[in-house]
Symmetry: C2
Subunit: 315 residues, 2 copies
Amino acid sequence: MSRVAGKPSGSDASSPARPAVPLRIAVLGLGLIGGSAAAAWRRLGHDLVGWSRRPATIEAAIERGIVGAGAKSAAMAASDVDVVVLAPPVLAMRDLLAEIAPALRPGTIVTDVASTKVAPETWASATLPAHARWVGAHPMAGKEVSGLDHVDPGMFRGRTWVVVPPPGAELQAVSVVSRLGRELGSRVIEMSAVAHDHAVANVSHLPFMVSTALSDAVIGDPDFPEWSTVAATGLRDITRLASGDALMHRDICLTNRDRIADAMARFARILDTLAAEVRALPDPDAASGTEALATMETTFVRAKADRDAWLPNAR
Amino acid sequence: MSRVAGKPSGSDASSPARPAVPLRIAVLGLGLIGGSAAAAWRRLGHDLVGWSRRPATIEAAIERGIVGAGAKSAAMAASDVDVVVLAPPVLAMRDLLAEIAPALRPGTIVTDVASTKVAPETWASATLPAHARWVGAHPMAGKEVSGLDHVDPGMFRGRTWVVVPPPGAELQAVSVVSRLGRELGSRVIEMSAVAHDHAVANVSHLPFMVSTALSDAVIGDPDFPEWSTVAATGLRDITRLASGDALMHRDICLTNRDRIADAMARFARILDTLAAEVRALPDPDAASGTEALATMETTFVRAKADRDAWLPNAR
């Protein structure tokens, strides 16, 4: 395996001590998430080797101290490490798994950072040798920017790191992957791949689709230049998710299609009910005391109460 | 007219000098918006009299220096001032206009702070005497809290104050109402009532309805306690508007019903198209290079580009 020496990052005055057991970690894919995690693990004392489809990205990661060394191929990076972290675009993951599979030593732990978990688990199960140990993961952190330029080793602090052991996963491998999340300051929770993909379809992917549809319907309308004179922070905030990475969300839709479609259908029915309540309203001069007015109010009070009750627990 | 003396607010060290022409201003309705505007105008040196349906609110506003004096009735408050500012719940506005109409001196300017403008203009036109001068207004500022307890005289700074002159409005009256907005640090723009209500239906009321439907569909779902372990800031931010005042939004729906229903229908069609694009996606292993994949990406790229182009101008 070929490694190129890189200068240590040394830019974080508050670098904690080396972990009790430093691991050799290969990060394959050096975008925002892969690069940020690599930089953070390296500061903790782990031994990081990086690989990206673009050689210039590997060089940049070494120059910036994000990884200690680069590898000429994904297989070479994965061939003599304790943990392989797959962080490419989701659609590239299947080929990447096939590429590294023959090179993995017995006992190597393979994990990932993809936003959906059923597809990676299926691919890993079909591709990896029996002597490698797959434990999926999803760090719930992101930004409206992407790429190595925006690497932020602190981005996982206080966030959730979902660990997704496949059926029959080895406890020791699960424990190592959990530890890697905790070391970056994340709260680690365990879920099955199906439970994860169902939950994120509702709390994460549906909000993105709604934000995107709203951006299309309002900001994308030919009349928007006229409307925008009265646009306030509400529109800006509710369309924030629409500024997320288009390719990443395309792949999320592809690998969580049915659950997202179901969540959108449920949302559309609720929106339709709400629209019917609006259309049922009488003229204002005849509204006082009508049932339609009370219904509208009840809906708004309920939605507000549900959210306000959750808010103290939201992160 | 009965006035009760109140101590001056005196709490703002940076109080600007008295305005060139101090006005006598009656604020009818002392909630978040009415109370905040009253406090801010008073600090600028205007002479403020306040009235609220609840006598205890008038007393509290005097005690806190938000107004200099209180009035026993809306008519008494409006009877000898230069400007009357109506700031009650929207549905109370028609009765309030009828109440003050007989008491208005010739030349009195009557304005408001309601979130919709066609209904107030219609009511004012039907109710006010010819010698009073109606010029509607809508300060585009708000919070997810309401009431006198949350009064914030700085809340209009840097925001938009929409001035809505009725057909044939007198320039001098329009100029006074514009000046009152500018004095609070707002950017003043003029629009017709119909143009205003159409614009806010799209950039403000539709986002609220979408935020509410999403809160209902996700946070209100029986499975949410399970999903919430992976909920991130995206869900929190996109449902922020749903925590807005339920009664205010009920009245907004009532007085802007058809335009909101139209905007919701347009949004629902776009969401439906998006859902169809998701359902059309192939299985991930057969996705590479398909038209469905390209379509999905194009949609996300377009929505992101539209929003990112607007963002530098968003306030």
